[in-house]
């Protein structure tokens, strides 16, 4: 209990002095990361790279060209692709690398479909390629090398226009080679042969060519000087052995006319990315940051290398597919400074226009970048989804409320918390168990004294139609009495250290091994461990949470794995940001498999990468019970949504520290309107179940959670659409109002879908908020009072503790289930109420999506209902959006509320079979709200209501 735990925590602290303290100095700055420092020393200027136009090779799907660095004569291979859906892919690798460089697998859902890239014109210094419609051209300038994508007279994006393309070619280590060999090529080769004698013939040939390549042209090898940190780097007490030497890459992008860029989660920072001149670049390197600070560019738990640019003219995206440590520099500039050569033939240069310059720097791998050309926000989402896939469609229950704590102590505790919710009539779907539930932090097991009968506990929850999540972390206790460890050991599935032994590090269980999740066989084995007969005590209402999958290594450099650890043939350096994605993927696969492919999985992850949206939900990690953390949860989740990950939430109440009752209530109110809605608390904090703060606060929290449950049909439909299209569920205002500059930096309010605008109260002691209601000619209705407000105004809204300012867009129809029950499953067959909020034209439309709420049958067997609801000219009708699908639901329409209309003299319901019946109604003339009583039609049926 407390004493032993206290001692244990103390032990951990002592063991990893650098690891678990609030300290910025535990994490590298760019200056402390050798490759970043080297790269940053390169300043904008004339690029040493030259495109060798005579090496042009053109095929149906791509063109290739060689680039040469005139300083060191190293050649690169440039590949250009035109991809379906208005995207351009640019790949740059060494023409003949000393050994292969890492190309990120398993992130793209398939090889992207290409379209023909045709040469429009060519001269001695340039090449003009057609990207298809609308005069889109890709211009390759040879010397200095640069790429420009233009549309008519507009430059959309330029690559290497600031000359920051830098490619550290792989090289032989000087201290092992140059001292031993003569300077002549012949003897150098002899020496090389002896050094690489173990390699195959084929590779030797490659290497020979490689050497030749570097000595051709003027016949001189341009040996570059070694710089500090190229072959070894020490941070704090950790040394990175860097056996492969320097390998970093960099490329700059200029976005003329752009002042707003977003994305590249995860950072605890503003929605609109900041200019990083004079500060560190934004860092993407999955790290377990203890008590993270707000508003800085430090790396956090996850990384999605996707940047979205937006202006009133165009929305675009840059997807930098690289899983190594990455830094992103953002600076403002003025367009036109770097225009010259061929592109002047195309563009009108205005030196007044704003411009944003972005530079990406990664430690290893290749340059593989997707330029998503938009032009609308929705197009960029579609484009990105076509590359990395869409949000997985969660079971409905996962969208409901989750009750978590480190830790619910034992079965008795779980039972009493479960009862507490019923006693206080508060709905919840999931109770969560953190690390203490397992036997000595051996995941897949249960503490025999605290959880002796897990099935009994799970059955108890199942009887209430509720669920449980148990944590399964990827660090495995090194313990010969632990089956999981023994199997991994015998299958040789652990990540290796630089010397080839099993990598070991400290984490919760003490000394731990880290399974190599990059290995597909390992992942398949891991997935099989979730089978009911393998995971003893588990049941179908038990789901999984993957924490610490950055991976977190308490005694590792920056609390993570050593970069020279080995995943098969690749270094951890190459795959780092991908590790967490693989953990979640393997776990989600396991949940699917255990149900025989029937059930949709639900897995929460802390670490993530591009593509993680396919495997479940993400939360913003170990935040704190502070108002600033409540506020930042909005931009953090919005940024994730822009980068494809819609299922995002922050720990309600804050993980560290003890929230005041006011903060807790406000956090519940905000969290109820964010995609992933889970309360969580650190083990050292006092208990904070919703009923522990007095009856008034209990009532406020109950009401917030009930609002969530009533809106579940809307959330579910949005997730269905996110799954189909990749559109974020939680959206910045500018996504829906891309021409309204006033919305571009807003991050204290947001849209759910396009129809609900939420401005949660996030200030202590607030008596009012000012919400911006966007859209000229748009009208917005307060969802609680039906009060009508015009768009394109800042609205001052007085608030009390019970206020959650939410507005429904005029022109929308939202379906709710107003009969809130103790869990979402209990509401399965309940009737819907339609809220039709009319726009200034007196019309509205919306959707209703229904399926079995938990299986893949919607996809595999087309078993779902998808209705289009529209109201215009006093007629409300429900039309089938998916005629080839089939599903029968017991749900019906109990009520229709039409907001902002006029009083009819009659209302008639027309059924599909032609029968008609009169509907009773009430009209509130002060608010212009018409309530139609009990249409009673089945939710899946065709029907029409006519008002006269």
């Amino acid at each position: 209990m407390a004493a032993s735990r206290g001692r244990w925590v103390l032990l951990i602290v002592l063991l990893c002095v650098s690891a678990r303290a609030v300290d910025r100095s535990n994490f590298k700055t760019c200056e402390q990361s050798a490759f970043c420092k080297r790269q940053k020393e390169l300043k904008p200027g004339q690029s040493p790279y030259r495109a060798l136009l005579d090496t042009l090779e053109l095929s149906d799907s791509r063109i290739t060209l060689q680039l040469i660095n005139d300083n060191n004569k190293v050649r690169l291979l440039l590949e250009l692709y035109r991809l379906q859906g208005n995207m351009t892919r640019v790949k740059i690798n060494e023409l003949k690398p000393l050994k292969p460089r890492y190309e990120v697998p398993d992130v793209l859902i398939s090889d992207p479909f290409t379209e023909t890239l045709s040469v429009v014109s060519q001269d001695e210094n340039s090449l003009v390629l057609s990207l298809g419609g609308k005069d889109q051209r890709l211009i390759v300038s040879a010397q200095p090398f640069r790429l420009d994508i233009v549309e008519g007279p507009q430059v959309l994006v330029s690559l290497n226009s600031r000359g920051l393309l830098a490619f550290e070619h792989l090289r032989a280590r000087k201290d092992t080679i140059s001292h031993k060999i003569s300077s002549t090529v012949g003897s150098m080769w002899d020496s090389l042969k002896s050094i690489f004698s173990s390699k195959s013939e084929l590779e030797q040939v490659t290497e020979q060519e490689n050497v030749e390549q570097r000595t051709d042209e003027d016949g001189q090898i341009k040996e570059e000087e070694d710089k500090p940190g190229m072959w070894e780097e020490t941070f704090k007490s950790h040394t990175d052995s860097k056996p492969n030497g320097p390998s970093s890459i960099s490329l700059d992008f200029s976005l003329p006319g752009v002042e707003h860029v977003y994305g590249i989660p995860e950072h605890a920072d503003t929605l609109k990315l900041k200019n990083t001149d004079g500060s560190d670049p934004y860092r993407l390197y999955n790290l377990d940051v203890f008590q993270y600070e707000l508003h800085n560019p430090m790396a956090l738990y996850g990384a999605v290398p996707v940047l979205i640019s937006h202006s009133t003219d165009r929305t675009m995206g840059i997807f930098w597919l690289n899983a190594a440590e990455t830094w992103v520099d953002i600076s403002s500039n003025t367009a036109g400074k770097m225009m010259f050569g061929k592109i002047l033939d195309f563009v009108q240069v205005s030196s007044e226009a704003p411009q944003t310059d972005v530079r990406w720097i990664s430690e290893s791998g290749i340059i593989d970048v997707f330029i998503m050309l938009g032009p609308k926000p929705a197009d960029v989402f579609t484009q990105y989804a076509s590359l990395t896939g869409t949000q997985s469609f969660p079971p409905l229950t996962a969208l409901a409320y989750h009750q978590c704590r480190w830790n619910y102590n034992d079965q008795e505790d779980v039972k009493s918390v479960d009862q507490g919710f019923d006693e206080h009539d508060i709905p919840y779907d999931f109770i969560w168990l953190d690390i203490e539930h397992a036997d000595g932090k051996r995941y897949f097991t249960w503490d025999p004294s605290k959880f002796p009968q897990p099935k009994e506990m799970l059955q108890g929850l199942m009887d209430k139609r509720r669920k449980l999540v148990a944590i399964v972390d990827p660090h495995i206790r090194v313990d010969s009495g632990y089956k999981i460890h023994n199997e991994i050991l015998s299958k040789n599935f652990y990540v290796k250290n630089k010397d080839g032994g099993d990598y070991e590090g400290w984490c919760w269980p003490g000394n731990s091994g880290y399974p190599d999740f990059t290995n597909p066989e390992m992942r398949a084995w891991w997935a099989s461990k979730f089978a009911y007969e393998q995971y003893e005590g588990s049941m179908e209402n038990q789901y999984v949470w993957n924490d610490m999958n950055e991976p977190s290594v308490f005694n590792g450099p920056e609390v993570t794995m050593h970069k020279d650890a080995l995943h098969g043939g690749w270094e951890h350096r190459d795959v780092h940001n991908l590790y967490g994605l693989y953990v979640q993927k393997a776990t989600a696969d396991g949940l699917v498999e255990r149900s025989g492919g029937v059930e949709r999985p639900f897995v929460l992850t802390r670490a993530f990468f591009a593509g993680s949206q396919r495997y479940g939900a993400v939360w913003t990690g170990d935040n704190a019970a502070e108002w600033g953390h409540l506020k930042i949860s909005i931009p953090m989740c919005l940024s994730l949504g822009l980068a494809g990950i819609s299922f995002c939430g922050a720990d309600v109440g804050g993980f560290f520290k003890h929230p005041s009752a006011e903060l807790l209530v406000r956090w519940y109110q905000a969290g109820a309107y964010q995609p992933f809605f889970r309360a969580h608390a650190h083990i050292d904090t006092p208990r904070r179940e919703p009923w522990l703060f007095g009856p008034e606060n209990t009532a406020l929290i109950r009401e917030a959670i009930r609002q969530r449950y009533a809106l579940l049909p809307y959330w579910y439909q949005l997730f269905y659409n996110a799954h189909r299209t990749g559109y974020p569920v939680m959206r910045p205002l500018w996504v829906e109002y891309p021409d309204d500059v006033a919305t571009f930096s807003i991050e204290d309010e947001y849209l759910i879908g396009k129809d609900l605008l939420v401005h949660p109260v996030t200030d202590e002691g607030a008596t009012a908020v000012t919400a911006y209601l966007p859209g000229k000619g748009e009208v917005w209705y307060d969802v609680h009072t039906f009060q009508k407000h015009d768009g394109e105004q800042s609205l001052y809204i007085p608030v009390t503790m019970s206020s959650i300012p939410v507005f429904q867009r005029g022109g929308s129809i939202i379906c709710r289930k107003d009969r809130v029950r103790r869990s979402s499953s209990c509401m399965e067959n309940d009737p819907y109420t339609l809220y039709a909020a009319l726009n200034s034209q007196g019309s509205a439309e919306g959707e209703l999506y229904i399926d079995d709420f938990h299986t893949f049958n919607f996809e595999k067997a087309k078993q779902f209902v998808h209705r289009h609801l529209s109201f215009s000219a006093n007629t409300l009708s429900s039309r089938n959006l998916a005629p080839d699908s089939q599903f029968s639901t017991a749900s019906w329409i109990e009520k229709i509320v039409i907001i902002g209309g006029s009083q009819p003299s009659s209302a008639t319901l027309k059924n599909a079979d032609g029968t008609e019946s009169a509907l009773e109604f009430e009209f509130d003339s002060t608010l212009a709200v018409l309530t139609l009583r009990k249409p009673g039609v089945n939710a899946a049926a065709d029907w029409t209501v006519i008002l006269r």
């Binding site: 407390a2 925590v9 209990c826 109990e894």
Partner: protein, 536 residues
């Protein structure tokens, strides 16, 4: 779902053996039956509106107060009544109607959900009766025990009170006795003192003569020593300077550890330098303290109390005490925050036992017989006085202890008195918990390790109507990055006085369950049959 949900329930309840058939809308308790009259418009119970009777339980919420839908889940604020014949009737929120979960033991809440519920009312009723029976027995016996406890406590209290009174009387006598003995002692000590002084004086005089000779020799040696340094001008300038004296910190007058220039000058009669002739006048100032550098450090004189030994007069490089002493003290200061260092070896401060002084080589001659007799008499008076004083102190302590005990709130009838100065243990898989009521609670690992204080007695903290149901123990050992440990003890009626369970619902906040007859209430009545009647 357009069908009308006006389903009437037929309730067969058993009362006094006569079956009675009652008709009312589903979910309506008997007490409200009169408001639901078939075929008459129904007025919402809040009076807000009237609706046709066929809209009662038609699965659409018409009344703001939910009263038109007692038997469906249509109203968010409705409630459903289940009769639960054989057990106890209850209301459930109407959101639990047809939600697939069996809430009413008579299954009436799940009439259209497909949930397979079994009527468990009889079983529950039986079990409840059993439990109540058992509880009643325990309460009854417990209450009897409590009466004994109260009696004993009252008796005990009375005894203690009279004991205190007695003791206070005795104390007065003792007080007087002490005063008398003090006078006797002081009277005996006066002649003793005078005789001793006489004896001492005689001896001093005898000794002075011998010492004078020795002193002269020593002065000559000291003068040479003090001047033999730095300049090497021994033969030319035989003098002692202020700075030379300053190197002898043992001459420090104010015992601040250093010999200041002013102090040194004082010793030298205000002169900066002295020569052999004037040194004779300086010598008496310094000779008592002067240490010859050629000799080993003189041990502290016998009569120096140990406290002063810590501040050695001589500045010396070799610390006389091990560093441990200091850290030891610090450890004790923050013992509360850190319970892991208990095992540290507590090295006792190594105070050097003072050796016998060389000065006493010529021991004082024994007292003469008269003097010795006076001394013996005085000693006896002293001993008698001290013994009496000690007895008085002990009696004071006893009185204080009893008064302290009497000052505790042992309940309205002193029924908790018996717990005082007792301890009760509970052994779990990991720990041994120890509750010493009105004192403290502790936790000790079963397999070795130091004890953790889970709180010392704070107060009764039960609800207003009976604060004696909870005890609060506070200010226990601090938690790492957390609050000080505290424990709430929940008291329930039982025949035995036992700790039945402990838990830590929140970090460092413990809950202990404790049974005692002292909280058993007088059994209200003997009728154990549950609430069958409420319904009819």
């Amino acid at each position: 779902m357009t069908c009308v949900h006006l389903l009437l329930t037929l309730v067969f309840a058993v009362s006094l053996g006569t079956p009675v058939e009652i008709q009312r809308p589903r979910g309506v308790p008997l007490t409200k039956k009169q408001f639901y009259v078939e075929n008459k418009p129904f007025t919402c119970l809040d009076g807000s509106r009237a609706i046709p009777f066929d809209r009662v339980n038609d699965d659409y919420c018409d009344c703001k107060d939910g009263s038109d839908e007692p038997g469906t889940a249509a109203c968010p604020n409705g409630s459903f009544h289940c009769t639960n014949a054989g057990y106890r009737p209850m209301f459930i929120p109407s959101s639990r109607i047809n939600d697939g979960i069996c809430d009413c033991c008579d299954t009436t809440d799940e009439y259209n959900s497909g949930a397979k519920c079994e009527n468990t009312c009889k079983e529950l009723g039986r079990k409840e009766r059993e439990v109540l029976q058992k509880m009643a027995e325990i309460t009854k016996e417990g209450f009897l025990l409590k009466q004994h406890l109260i009696e004993e406590a009252k008796k005990g209290q009375q005894e203690k009170k009279s004991k205190v009174t007695d003791m206070q009387g005795n104390k007065k006598q003792l007080d007087e006795k002490v005063e008398v003995l003090r006078t006797v002692k002081e009277t005996a000590e006066q002649p003793e003192k005078e005789a001793k002084e006489r004896h001492l004086k005689a001896w001093e005089e005898q000794k002075a003569a011998i010492r004078l000779e020795k002193d002269k020799a020593k002065m000559a040696e000291a003068f040479l020593f003090l001047t033999d340094d730095e300049d090497g001008l021994l033969s030319l300038c035989i003098s002692v300077s202020v700075s030379e004296l300053q190197s002898h910190a043992e001459l420090d007058a104010d015992a601040d550890g250093t010999l200041t220039e002013t102090e040194a000058q004082g010793l030298m009669g205000g002169a900066e330098q002295v020569d052999t002739s004037t040194f004779e006048s300086v010598w008496p100032n310094i000779k008592d303290k002067y240490h010859s550098e050629s000799q080993p450090e003189e041990p502290a004189p016998v009569e120096t109390p140990p406290d002063e030994v810590k501040e050695p007069v001589v500045v010396n490089d070799s610390e006389p005490y091990p560093e441990d002493d200091i850290s030891e003290e610090e450890d004790e200061d923050d013992e509360d925050e850190d319970d892991y260092h208990e095992d540290d070896d507590k090295a006792p401060p190594t105070i050097k036992a003072p050796e016998k002084s060389h000065e006493d080589e010529e021991a004082m001659p024994p007292y003469d017989a008269d003097t010795q007799a006076l001394i013996d008499a005085a000693q006896k008076a002293r001993d008698d006085f001290e013994e009496a004083e000690k007895a008085l102190r002990e009696m004071d302590d006893q009185i204080r202890n009893i008064e302290k005990e009497l000052s505790f709130d042992f309940g309205p009838d002193a029924e908790f008195t018996y717990l005082y100065s007792q301890c009760y243990e509970l052994t779990t898989s990991e720990y041994i918990y120890r509750l010493c009521p009105f004192n403290r609670i502790s936790q000790k690992p079963k397999y070795g390790g130091s004890e953790t204080n889970l709180g010392t007695w704070g107060s009764w903290s039960g609800p207003e109507n009976n604060k004696y149901l909870l005890m609060k123990y506070e200010h226990g050992t601090g938690c790492w990055q957390g609050p000080n440990r505290s424990t709430t003890v929940k008291l329930t009626c039982g025949k035995e006085t036992v700790v039945t369970s402990t838990s830590e619902p929140s970090r460092c906040e413990y809950l202990m369950e404790f049974t005692t007859p002292a909280v058993c209430q007088e059994p209200a009545n003997t009728d154990l049959s549950p609430h069958d009647h409420e319904e009819l």
